[in-house]
């Protein structure tokens, strides 16, 4: 009952945020403008339909998927401080994107998401080759971190040796929803197919919480489950990062908030985390756009600033 009412509340908050995202910005719209804005005859049709609607949708998609992959990663790594970042996926994607921007600055921007996607998936593959499926969870996480550090230093190296592109690269590396439209929404939509698969794995993720030995004795194959769950998380993270750049802390904080709200059973936790993620990114993007218009902060920075206090509190609570 508590769970139901909480979910309803979250949904309401999210709807309000969607409305706010659609109406606030460089031009603020009233509720009536908003309603009429969906008709092609309205003077706001272009603003709403071409700018704000796809962007809001994208915030929901990316926020939900980042939160979901964060929950999955924390579930199988069995560590509440893990996040998709520990798999090195976002850094790998970042490296690929920066490589493209610095080495081939003339290539069309159209290729950037695809390159980043390949980079992210490749990074996950490297991690898997290094660790295999039999490494312990924490070793996997720390190897991922080490790999991420390697990609990070390569990115720094590239940026410093080619200082001309540094600002573009930095902008991409912070993660932002700026300038994203329907093309990006359609790019990310196919990845939604992974969401039901994640739900289907929920019961097994629960059992993974009990430790490798007990999970095995309850009939769950740890290597297979871990590989499947991490593969889903990698796919979704890579997709999100390729489109919006690395949006920090969302995958770390959203699962925690969700866990505090509804507890640790993944059948309920996964959907709740998705809702929380959507809400957070909508909020972050709204604040980022409206704090000092027409200047926009990247949403990635806003999520970090919003997530930071909660995260620190969390660190101290974890015993």
């Amino acid at each position: 009952m508590k769970t139901l009412s909480l979910s309803a509340l979250l949904l309401c908050v999210m709807c309000v945020l969607v409305m706010m995202n659609l109406s606030f910005g460089a031009v603020s719209l009233t509720f009536n403008d908003l309603l009429s804005g969906f008709q092609p005859t309205s003077e706001f049709y272009f603003t709403i339909h071409e700018y704000r609607l796809p962007r809001t949708l994208l915030a929901m998609l990316v926020g939900g998927m980042m939160a979901l992959s964060g929950t999955l990663v924390q579930g199988v790594i069995r560590n509440p401080l893990a996040s998709p970042d520990v798999l090195g996926v976002s850094h790998g994607a970042g490296l690929a994107a920066v490589l493209l921007m610095t080495l081939y600055p003339d290539v069309s921007v159209y290729w950037l998401p695809w390159t980043a996607l390949c980079g992210g998936l490749l990074a996950a593959l490297v991690l898997w080759l290094l660790c295999g499926s039999h490494s312990s969870a924490i070793k996997l996480a720390i190897t991922g971190i080490a790999l991420a550090t390697l990609y990070g230093s390569l990115v720094d190296f590239l940026m410093l040796t080619r200082p001309l592109e540094i600002n573009n690269a930095l902008l991409w590396l912070t993660g932002s929803l700026w300038g994203r439209g329907w093309d990006q929404v359609t790019m990310i939509l196919p990845w939604l197919i992974l969401v039901p698969v994640a739900f289907w794995l929920a019961k097994r993720i629960n059992l993974v919480q009990l430790g490798d030995d007990v999970a095995t004795s309850l009939g769950v194959s740890i290597p297979v489950t871990r590989l499947a769950v991490l593969a889903i998380a990698v796919g979704m993270t890579a997709a999100c990062v390729s489109i919006c750049g690395p949006i920090g802390f969302l995958g770390l904080v959203a699962p925690h908030l969700a866990r505090r709200l509804v507890g640790g059973r993944h059948q309920i936790l996964l959907p709740c985390a998705i809702l929380v993620g959507m809400t957070l990114l909508l909020l972050a993007d709204l604040v980022a756009r409206t704090i000092d218009p027409p200047i926009e902060l990247p949403a990635g920075i806003m999520t970090a600033i919003l997530g930071a206090p909660y995260f620190l509190w969390l660190l101290f609570r974890t015993k």
Binding site: I138, K139, I142, M159, L160, F249, A304, L315, F316
Partner: protein, 335 residues
């Protein structure tokens, strides 16, 4: 060579490594200069300086402070790393992994973008404060989570703190775009712009920090036995933590304000020292200092050579060597 070094007595190791350091330092004085300088000129500039000789001027005004700063910074960071590893009993602890570098970078970026009128001194202080905040976070966490299998957890916490600071630093840089390259260079760590004016504040802090660090060696040995045993052997844990933390901050702060956030020296070097001499911190600390100096001086030479005549930050070079080593470390030290 490693096995040859391992067989030497401790003093022999020190002398051999110091010799190596001198050779690299000498190389660093004259190689890859736009105006050709010879090795003998480098020596004569030190012994009988002639202010009218352009080569001597370059060596004395540009190269010598650079070598000195590179070496000192290397020694400071490496020793700080060794102390952190001893204090947390975590083989992966180091200023960069536990987020101290990132915190210092955030402090520095904040001051240099928001309040540039505070000048070099202000940024140094900001760097030290930023580093101190992250370090105390890590220390509080480290003492709260005792036990053998918390290595990974502390590292995860450090990584998350680093990520947070990095995001905020990026925000600072992006809000004040014209500073981007400068701050990025500083973040990667470079001794390219080192001058005598940077040496002035560095050497007293480094001298104090390093000599005090050698004195805590025996205590770190006891800590290695575990906190409860150390306490029952008469170690005042709180006091030791306090002193070591202050030392780490002095060393890291001195290094960061002189050369920027050079990563991985603190992680890499103590492990090489340990491979040479074993677990005795009385020996690890001096060896770490010498080797840290050698590593950064060498990296600085390489940083000039790699795309001559442009300069790459030495920190970027070390990161490229250090990151694979970090991966190797993770794979061998965590089960």
């Amino acid at each position: 060579m490693k096995s040859f070094l391992q067989k030497l007595p401790f003093l022999g190791q020190c002398i051999a490594l110091s010799f190596l350091l001198c050779v690299f330092a000498w190389l660093s004085l004259f190689t890859w200069s736009i105006i050709p300088i010879s090795g003998t000129q480098a020596l004569s500039a030190l012994t009988s300086p002639n202010p009218n000789n352009i080569a001597h001027r370059i060596i004395l005004d540009l190269r010598l402070p650079r070598v000195l700063i590179a070496g000192t910074v290397g020694a400071c960071l490496a020793v700080a790393g060794a102390i952190m590893q001893g204090l947390t009993r975590n083989p992966l602890a180091s200023p960069s992994v536990l987020g101290v570098n990132a915190g210092a970078a955030l402090g520095m970026a904040t001051v240099s973008t928001v309040a540039p009128w505070l000048g070099v001194f202000g940024t140094s202080v900001a760097a030290i404060i930023g580093g101190a905040i992250t370090w105390s976070l890590v220390m509080i966490l480290g003492t709260a989570w005792r036990g053998g299998n918390e290595h990974g957890r502390l590292v995860l916490a450090g990584v998350a703190i680093s990520a947070l600071c990095a995001a905020l630093t990026k925000a600072m840089i992006m809000l004040y775009e014209d500073q981007a390259v400068g701050v990025m260079t500083w973040l990667a760590g470079s001794v390219a712009d080192a001058r005598w004016s940077d040496w002035q504040p560095l050497w007293p802090m480094a001298l104090f920090g390093l000599s005090a660090a050698f004195l805590v060696g025996p205590t770190l040995n006891l800590l290695n036995l575990g906190e409860d045993s150390a306490r029952s052997l008469g170690v005042k844990l709180g006091l030791v933590r306090m002193i070591c933390s202050v030392l780490v901050l002095i060393l890291v702060g001195a290094a960061l304000s002189a050369a920027g956030a050079i990563a991985f020296v603190g992680l890499l070097v103590p492990h090489i020292a340990r491979a040479l001499t074993g677990q005795d911190y009385r020996k690890i600390l001096p060896l770490t200092a010498i080797m840290g100096a050698t590593l950064v001086v060498l990296a600085d030479v390489v940083s000039r050579a790699i795309i001559f005549p442009m300069e790459t930050p030495a920190g970027a070079i070390i990161a490229l060597i250090g990151a694979p080593f970090f991966i190797y470390m993770v794979r061998s030290k965590t089960s």
